[in-house]
């Protein structure tokens, strides 16, 4: 019951404007009353939310609920163009690198204001980043600033910070500042779309704690009120200067703790958008909602990852892992056990991300029991002829883990069991401490829409997201070359080469890509657009005139 609450743990995600081009719900069919009627520019959208776990501070929103609200209140420097993932400027007029992409100059559009009337200046950004990076301020996303020169002064590994400013940040004038990086990063501008890079008004620094309860931003909506465990209200900001002006009058984020409750409210039009159809209703929601059902892929992948520090996988022949991958009947499992909530993965990189190549993994992700058996045999078999898949039991992972195990057991004879940890914490602890016994469930939602995010940040031997102990010198070399490439196109291409390298070495077995299965109420005009991170683009939602 509680597992159904939220299938996804979106730990970090981007501010998005990628339109729902690949929308599985299909284009609006004529004669459907969803698309008839006039839009009410003052109409209020009611959306599902769970209580945000942290105060509403931009660098402190590690989970999807808080960032859902923050993204309506704040506008960042950049965004991504719908479909292509190309950079689009929002608050920035330009973000330009020097020759080797190690120093960046940010120019702001003049005349922007925070919701309290104070101007948005270069200082608002620099102060915000310095504060957020400071270890004393306990912002969970503080490590996002680690590319900037002087980060270790404000965020030392041990002891108190030496300074409260990063020396790499310099205010040039009211609307210009420069960012010096410790090493070249060709796609630094892409990272700037994430929540943590938001500017903060002066009011924030007077009382950050109070601000977290009543944030003041520069985005299309201004914050109105937060009744804990009940309702968060944001309303359209009339003086908003950005491109994404709200097409509705505001949003009421209504608190739900179960998907079931939200779904029954959606059916009675008491809420206009829900996060995810509950497991109990997955079989019937398309009939229940008709055209108002939302079935929408987003850029996230689920995989099972061998723990390479175990005896079992230490010196494994990658062929064995390829064999295990081919023993999994992805199409059947996604159709039955997962009830169409995911689509079989064919790449390490999720679709909707720059550099995703359809079918990149070729046969390795095809279900072929005979070939699977053969590969495992050729590779010398699975040591102990037994694997375990570790997962956390507080989310709805058991069904698919069981199904994957059944599939492997049936097609190869390798014994396979789930290894549930009671909570996500316990699961992560075991991963961090390198105590996973065999394999574990891995999941990744994009931080920024470049394929490097799905590879370097997971499989680089020094990457913080690499908890499997995987190390491949060749891959490390290729990815560092790619990061230093002169253009983003070049970077993406080099990472595509790196993906082929990974396919041979199998640092993980990709299983499927995520989809949003959701719905919208009868109050909404047209189909709700989605970003690549699986959250709707709230400012484009239109409410029907009553």
């Amino acid at each position: 019951m509680r597992g159904a609450k939220s299938a996804k743990w979106v730990a970090g995600a981007i501010v998005v404007a990628l339109a729902a081009t690949a929308c599985g719900g299909g284009d609006d069919s004529a004669g459907d009353d969803m698309n008839k009627g006039k839009a009410d520019p003052n109409g209020i959208v009611t959306a599902q939310l769970s209580e945000p776990q942290n105060p509403l501070q931009p660098a402190n929103a590690k989970e999807s609920q808080g960032s859902r609200v923050l993204r309506t209140i704040f506008a960042g420097l950049v965004d991504y163009e719908p479909g292509t993932g190309k950079l689009e400027y929002v608050n920035a007029e330009s973000v330009t690198p020097n020759d080797d992409s190690s120093e960046w100059t940010v120019k702001l559009k003049p005349g922007w204001k925070f919701h309290d009337g104070t101007p948005v200046t270069a200082k608002s950004y620099v102060d915000s980043w310095n504060w957020s990076a400071n270890i004393k301020n306990n912002q969970t996303n503080s490590s996002w600033f680690s590319d900037i020169v002087g980060f270790e002064d404000v965020h030392p590994e041990k002891g108190d910070p030496k300074s409260d400013k990063m020396s790499g940040l310099k205010v040039v004038d009211d609307n210009t500042f420069t960012v010096k990086l410790t090493q070249p990063v060709s796609y630094f501008a892409y990272k700037l779309g994430y929540d943590v890079w938001a500017p903060l008004p002066e009011a924030f620094f007077k009382d950050p704690k109070a601000f977290g309860e009543k944030p003041i931003g520069n985005g299309p909506y201004k914050f109105v009120s937060w009744e804990h465990n009940k309702l968060i209200k944001v309303r359209k900001f009339a003086d908003y200067k950005g491109p994404n002006v709200a097409k509705n009058g505001g949003i009421d984020f209504k608190n739900y703790t179960t998907a079931d409750a939200a779904y029954s409210d959606l059916r009675s039009d008491n809420v206009d958008w829900i996060e995810q159809v509950p497991t109990t209703a997955l079989a019937s929601y398309k009939t229940d909602l008709g055209d108002r059902a939302i079935d929408q892929p987003y850029s996230a992948v689920q995989s099972i990852v061998p723990a390479f520090y175990t005896k079992q996988f230490k010196d494994i022949d990658p062929k064995v892992i390829q064999g295990l991958s081919m023993a999994i009947d992805r199409p059947t499992i996604t159709k039955t056990v997962l009830q169409g909530t995911r689509t079989p993965a064919d790449s390490y990189v999720a679709p909707g991300v720059l550099g995703y190549k359809k079918g990149a993994l070729g046969d390795i992700v095809k279900f072929d029991p005979a070939q699977a058996k053969k590969l495992i045999q050729e590779g010398g078999g699975v040591p102990g002829n037994k694997i375990q898949i570790q997962y956390n039991a507080d989310q709805d992972h058991k069904p698919w883990v069981d199904a994957v195990c059944n599939s492997i057991r049936k097609s190869t004879g390798v014994e396979c069991t789930g290894d549930p940890k009671p909570t996500f914490q316990a699961d992560l602890d075991a991963r961090d401490a390198h105590e996973v016994k065999s394999m574990y469930r891995g999941g990744w939602v994009l931080d920024y829409p470049v394929n490097s995010n799905f590879m370097r940040d997971l499989y680089g031997s020094k990457a913080a997201g690499n908890t499997s102990g995987y190390a491949n010198k060749e891959f490390d070399k290729l990815s560092s070359d790619a990061d230093k490439a002169s253009s983003i196109d070049e970077t993406v291409k080099l990472y595509q080469q790196a993906e082929q390298l990974l396919a041979k070495d199998m640092p993980a077995i990709p299983l499927w890509f995520y989809k949003v299965n959701s719905g919208q109420s009868k109050n909404i005009l047209g189909k709700i657009e989605y970003g690549q991170d699986g959250d709707p683009i709230f400012d484009t939602i239109q409410v029907k005139q009553k």
């Binding site: 019951m1 597992g3 159904a4 497991t279 109990t280 209703a281 079989a283 019937s284 009947d329 059947t332 499992i333 039955t336 056990v337 039991a393 507080d394 709805d396 058991k398 069904p399 069981d402 199904a403 059944n406 599939s407 057991r409 049936k410 069991t417 789930g418 290894d419 549930p420 940890k421 009671p422 909570t423 316990a426 075991a430």
Partner: protein, 322 residues
């Protein structure tokens, strides 16, 4: 707790209700009256034989024990073997007695009948072992407290009070949350860790009653040692209420295990547990109620059998309630 005589009997000794102190039954639990020729036990057995409830529950329990011991006798299908292509959420065929599709298939395409059969062992094992453990711990501590009194009683009673203050289910949830690997014995230990208090209280008060009996005084006067008095004279005469509480509680422990497994804090894969299956079934209940009803039915039947037996034994041993 002061020794206020509570007119409360063993009724509510099951676990999840966090049993009322199940009574300081002092003065209530009538030790065998000497004018009767039969002993308490003989009397009870005579009584039991004439109760249909006893026979129904006994037959059920024997059947369940056989299933738990030899599941292979009842089904040859591997309960972990799923076929998603052919059997995904297959409907039950109630006519196909003892066939794999009798109770239908679950969302992994596994035979629910086979799972129900193979799930019996874990439930019975947990129930029996927890009961044995709490009877041992609670019985021993209760006996010590009741017999020796004084500071031993104070210390033990305070410890009982402390543990008793924690709601049973919540306490076990917290304990089990600490274990990342929950095999059967872990669940047993967790349930026993917080479950022994009722037994301790009941035993304590019945021992207090029993030790005041004339034959104990007589034995002591004859120079019998403490151990001898405890085990030969006090225990046999004080054990009846303990047995009653334990039998009724057994069903409760099975129910508690299922509840914990349902919450994701009980048994874990690859152990087959009704609680887990019920939890899985609850997700597809709207269109496939069979995935929940059969394991739930089997679970309830088992708890029913134990509670009914406990009830019959209680009535037999505690003639006052007849």
């Amino acid at each position: 707790m002061p020794d206020v005589t509570k007119a409360q009997t063993t009724d509510a000794a099951t676990v999840d209700a966090v049993a009322p102190p199940a009574a300081d039954t002092a003065g209530k639990q009538s030790p065998p009256k000497t004018e009767k020729p039969r002993s308490l036990w003989g009397d009870a057995w005579y009584d039991l034989r004439h109760r249909p409830m006893f026979w129904i529950s006994s037959v059920l329990l024997v059947l369940l024990l056989v299933i738990a011991a030899f599941p292979g006798m009842f089904t040859s299908v591997d309960p972990r073997d799923g076929d998603l292509v052919h059997h995904y959420l297959g409907k039950p065929e109630l006519g196909h007695l003892f066939q794999p599709d009798w109770f239908g298939y679950d969302q992994q395409g596994r035979s629910i009948y086979a799972r129900v059969i193979h799930g019996t062992r874990a439930s019975i094992l947990v129930g029996v072992c927890v009961t044995a453990a709490v009877t041992l711990i609670g019985g021993l501590l209760g006996m010590l407290a009741g017999y020796f009194g004084g500071w031993i009683d104070s210390v033990i009673s305070r410890i009982v009070d402390i543990f008793f203050g924690l709601p049973f289910l919540l306490g076990t949830m917290v304990v089990l949350n600490a274990f990342t690997e929950r095999k059967v014995y872990v669940v047993i230990l967790a349930l026993a860790f917080l479950g022994w208090t009722s037994i301790a209280r009941v035993t304590r008060s019945s021992v207090i009653t029993a030790k005041q009996a004339d034959y104990v005084t007589a034995a002591r006067a004859l120079g019998a040692g403490t151990t001898r008095i405890l085990f030969r004279h006090v225990m046999p005469n004080a054990v009846a209420p303990t047995i009653v509480v334990a039998t009724i509680a057994l069903g409760g422990y099975i129910s508690a295990e299922a509840t914990l497994s349902f919450l994701g804090l009980g048994l874990s894969d690859p152990t087959i547990s009704w609680g887990i299956d019920i939890s899985e079934g609850s997700k597809v209940i709207r269109d496939n109620p069979h995935t929940l009803l059969f394991p739930a039915g089997m679970l309830s039947l088992t708890v029913f059998a134990f509670i009914m037996l406990g009830d019959a034994v209680r009535d037999a041993l505690d003639p006052k309630l007849r």
